[in-house]
Structures are given as C-alpha cells and as structure tokens.
C-alpha cells in the first residue's frame, strides 16, 4: 500500500532505504493504471521522463543524499496543466495550446526540482482555470474518486482527484477564486492557497494576475507545511513576489492545544442556503476546535455578499488582457485568415471553449470605453472594502473558519448549463483571493448517503500560513477524517 503513504511517511522509508524512488513512482503509476480509467485525473504522463528522474533520485539516495536541502528527494508529485515544466507539454486543458511544449521551468517547478521531487503528469483542469468542476476542460471531465457520478470540483479538479485517489503523493495547483480549496474540499484532501506574493507565479499560465496563487494539494497538513517550505520565497522573475523570509512551516505542527487561539465565525455566512449535512459538519468542527482550547467569536464581513459580483468583474477583466497573448502567432493553434484581425479572431473563436469565450468577452466589456468606471473601477473599490472587512476582523481573531463550500460535490452536468449557478458555488472561497490573504481547506467530515467529503476552510492574515497550519494540524490530529480512503483510493 505504498501509494497510500503521506510524503512524511514516504520520506522516512526513502531515507532508510526500505523503499526506492523508483518503487514510489511505480506505485503511483500502477495506481494510475488501476483507477485513472475511472477518475480521469491525468491528461498525460511522460513515464520515461518520470522514471529517469526516479533513477537519478535513487542514485543520489544510495550515495547518502536527501534530507536538509533535498527534503522531497524521490517523492513523486504531479502538476496541474497550467505550470511550465521544461520539455513537457502545458496546455491549460485548452485546444488553443494543443501541442505546446514548455521551453522553461516555472519557478515553483524549479523549486520542487531543487528539493528533489520527481515531477510527473499533466493534471486535468477547467480550461485556463476557469470553472469549478473540470467540466470546462477541452478534453474530458475528471470524476470524483468518492463517487464517479460527481465532479471533483475545479478548476484544479485533476490535482484533488489524483491525490484523493492516491495516484500521486501530492500535486501542485493554482487558486484564483477557490480553485485549490474547493476541489480539495470536495475530494477530501488538504489544499492551501498561500498569501498573494508568497509563491512566485513565474511560469504559471496567467488567468487573473492580481488573484492567482500557486499552492499544494496533500494528504495531510504536515505535507502541506513541507511543500510550502519548498514552494515559498522571493523570486526576481515575478515582480509581485514578496521579499519576506520563509518560516520553517513544519515548526507550526507541534501544538496539540489551541489555547489562546482566537477563531472567527462569519456572521454573514450563516444565512441559509447551506446543505444541512455541510452545516452540521461545520458546527461539529467548531465544537472540536473549542474543545482543543480555541476561543470562538463572531466576526462580520459586511461586504461578503458582494464578493462574487466583484470577482466576476475583476477576474474576467484581467483574463481578457492576459489571454490576448493567444493570437495564433507566437504559439498554439492558428486558423489562417486574410488579414491579422481575421487570423486572430478565427484562431480564438476555434481554440477557446465556451467558458473562456464568456469570460474574455465579459472582461472586454467591463474594461471597454464608457463602462470602465461603472464596472471595473467600482469593483476595485468594493474590493478595497472587502479587504478592509478582513483587516477589521483580523484585529480580533487569528483565523476565520467557514465551510469551504456550501454543498458537497454535485453531479456531473448539474450546473453545467447555468454559468451563474456555477459561479455561486465558490461563494465562500472568492473573498480570500480578492483580499490577498491565505486560506486552506482540510477534511472535516462526510455526508451519509452517498459518502462525500466535506471541507473546513481556514482563512488567515497576510503571511499567516503558519497560523493556519498550526490550527489545521491540531484539528487533524484530533479527528479521523484524513485517514479515510476513497473507494477508488
């Protein structure tokens, strides 16, 4: 059952020589062969390349390497199809990038390599990270390992499904409005969206540049701490990256008591519309956090009701600018036309899927002359108010706790025909990105029939990742949820 180990468990066996990096990778590949026909998390895997990396790691392990600067030596980790990995395809699950091969490594990828990880596979996602279910992938819909009639969440649905199905020891995704936390919740794994600027986005295909962050999907809170140490840090190649020291996040894991920790429950999030089992699991989790010693207070985020509308102006506006680069000239698909205008328009009309077209057109509209002030500028002001709400709340509490999603995983097709309903499934995760703070999701229970994971969201101050990891770890160690294995795991 090698494929079911956490990274921390695997690293111990690699260091002692009981298991080789090749064993670990082959366990993942065998699990992919067993279950990925049902889960469909991976768009592709270059097995030869991954095996070569594992052999190199084994040579280094045999020579006494690992530990210290190479804490991930020999650990197989899979990547969302939005991160550049030199020599490997990156397509954002879009037809417009079919056949594209990365000419360089994203900084996050380079950092994982520097820590010794074996990087393999391209994980499915909603096209250009726009969606909440992977149904917007141009290739196929990934399915939830707990119930394959349901979506895994999105946009990083492949990342969450692969970890929940034990096809990878961890995966790396991106989160613009909940794309790490929402699928982590729906698939029952740990997902962390770092503070804006904590992890370099160099080599992440841009969706909405003032919101995007890269973060890990793991089987345990401890593994999330380990990966955050590897991923975080200043990068001169990303001008939004913060030049702040990176704590040893694993030091946050020791506490079993939460005495002295102040947690906030959001007044505005308790007004109906929530699935009763999700609500019950959330309330039980709050009681558990109190039992661990935390003090729970009510906080108010008065503008949270406007977060979704603000997000669906700002994110499409930025996307319309970022996706202008897909012009049929420098890379990707090209549909010829008699002039540059027709070549651009036909290429984009043929290469983008429906959701990407919706958002690029919406974003173009809210930025267009005559509408900019009414939509984009106003949204930027409401965004400032949303951030101010969090600043006020964090004057009184160390972290805010919410359900990650209002419902468990929904059925494939249930919301596909109504984009607005799909947008509203991210209602609890969106404001975190608008405010630029950090957030994570971890398992906090299951629905009864069918048995589906429920996620607990922790939101923290800017650069407050260590606080979140400390709270999450104490909660995890006192509850059984992280030990549950998906039927396809």
């Amino acid at each position: 059952m090698l494929h079911r180990l956490t990274i921390s468990e695997l690293a111990g066996r690699l260091a002692s020589g009981h298991v080789s990096a090749t064993d670990a990778l082959e366990a993942c590949l065998a699990q992919v062969d067993r279950v990925d026909g049902d889960v469909r998390a991976f768009l592709s895997i270059d097995r030869d390349d991954a095996r070569a990396q594992a052999r190199a790691a084994d040579a280094e392990l045999a020579a006494g390497g690992g530990g210290g600067m190479r804490p991930l030596l020999g650990v197989p980790i899979a990547l969302k199809d939005v991160l550049c990995h030199r020599g490997q395809p990156v397509g954002c699950a879009s037809k417009i990038l079919e056949g594209y091969v990365s000419p360089y490594d994203a900084t996050a990828v380079a950092r994982l390599k520097a820590a010794g990880a074996v990087l393999f596979g391209r994980l499915n996602m909603d096209e250009f990270a726009m969606g909440s279910s992977t149904e917007n992938s141009a290739y196929w819909t990934t399915l939830n390992p707990w119930d394959t009639s349901r979506i895994p969440g999105g946009s990083s649905g492949g990342c969450a499904a692969a970890v929940a199905a034990n096809e990878a020891f961890a995966s790396i995704g991106s989160d613009t409005g909940g794309s790490i936390r929402q699928p982590a919740a729906l698939c029952g794994c740990v997902g962390l969206k770092p503070t804006y600027g904590r992890v370099s986005r160099y080599g992440l295909v841009a969706f909405a540049s003032s919101l995007d962050q890269i973060g890990p999907f793991t089987k345990s809170v401890g593994d999330a701490a380990l990966l955050m140490e590897a991923l975080s840090g200043h990068d001169p190649l990303d001008s939004t990256s913060l030049n702040e020291p990176v704590p040893r996040y694993r030091d946050a894991l020791g506490a079993t008591s939460l005495k002295g920790v102040r947690l906030g429950v959001v007044k505005e999030f308790q007004l109906g519309g929530m699935d009763t089992e999700v609500d019950a699991a959330f309330r039980a989790a709050m009681r558990q956090l109190e039992a661990l010693g935390a003090e729970v207070r009510e906080v108010s985020l008065p503008h949270s009701d406007h977060a979704a509308a603000t997000y669906y102006i700002i994110a499409p506006a930025e996307a319309s600018a970022n996706l202008a680069r897909f012009d049929g000239v420098r890379y990707g698909r090209r549909v010829e036309g008699p002039d540059a205008f027709e070549l651009n328009s036909r290429t984009r009309g043929s290469g983008f899927g429906p959701e990407v077209k919706r958002r690029v057109i919406l974003g173009t509209y809210v930025l267009s002359s005559g509408y900019y002030d009414a939509y984009y500028l106003r949204a930027q002001k409401v965004r400032a108010l949303i951030r101010r709400d969090f600043e006020h709340a964090f004057a009184h509490v160390d972290a805010i706790v919410t359900p990650t999603t209002p419902t468990p995983a929904f059925k494939v097709g249930e919301k596909a025909s109504d984009p607005l309903q799909m947008y509203l499934s991210d209602i609890f995760t969106i404001s975190c990105n608008l405010a630029g703070i950090c957030g994570m999701s971890l398992p906090c229970g299951f629905t009864r029939q069918p048995r589906l994971p429920i996620g607990l969201q922790l939101l923290g101050r800017p650069l407050g990742e260590a606080d979140l990891l400390r709270i999450a770890h104490a909660y995890e160690q006192s509850t059984p949820w992280h030990r549950e294995v998906a039927p396809l795991g």
Binding site: G332, E342, V382, P419
Partner: protein, 93 residues
C-alpha cells in the same frame, strides 16, 4: 443590459462567434451582467480603488546581463515561422 451588444464586444475581444454562439453567450452574459449590477448599490464614496493585494511599487532588479530563452526555444512553439521570425499576414500595404 439593453446596451450590451455581443457582436460588437466579441469583435473587440477578437473572438469569432457563430450566430448560435452569439445567441447563447449573449443570453448568458445578460444574466451575469444582471447579477453584477448589484454592485451599484454599494456605497464606494471616498474609497480608493485596489488593484493588488500588496501595493508594491517600482519593483526592480539589478540590471545585469543574464541568459534568457534561446532563439530556437522562443520559436519552437510558433505555428508558422521563417528565417528565424514569426510569420504573420501582411499588415502594411
């Protein structure tokens, strides 16, 4: 949004749509715009717009020569190239 003209905005966005797509996307975008209209009710007087979570300004790095993408790497994904250049339709008569 009576003045939202899908045909016009799709042209601005350089996205060719079929008539069926225009109809479907136009209706969906009408709903979405109706939803985001609610921001008009928020009092934003005196609020400075926020463009980034951390307003870093004048970010620069030392101006030192360093290696960058090779010519071949920069062109390797181009759909059409010739003589070390990207090929585009004629733009200037």
């Amino acid at each position: 949004m009576s003045d939202f003209n899908i045909h016009y905005v799709a042209r601005l966005a350089r996205v060719a749509l079929t008539p069926e797509e225009e109809q479907r996307l136009g209706g969906q975008l009408g709903n979405i715009l109706g939803y985001i209209e609610k921001l008009r009710t928020v009092d934003v007087s005196g609020v400075e717009p926020m463009s980034h979570a951390f307003p870093l300004a004048n970010v620069s790095r030392p101006d030192e020569p360093r290696s960058s993408l090779s010519h071949d790497d920069a062109l390797r994904n181009a759909p059409s190239r010739s003589g070390g250049l990207f090929v585009v339709p004629k733009i200037v008569e």
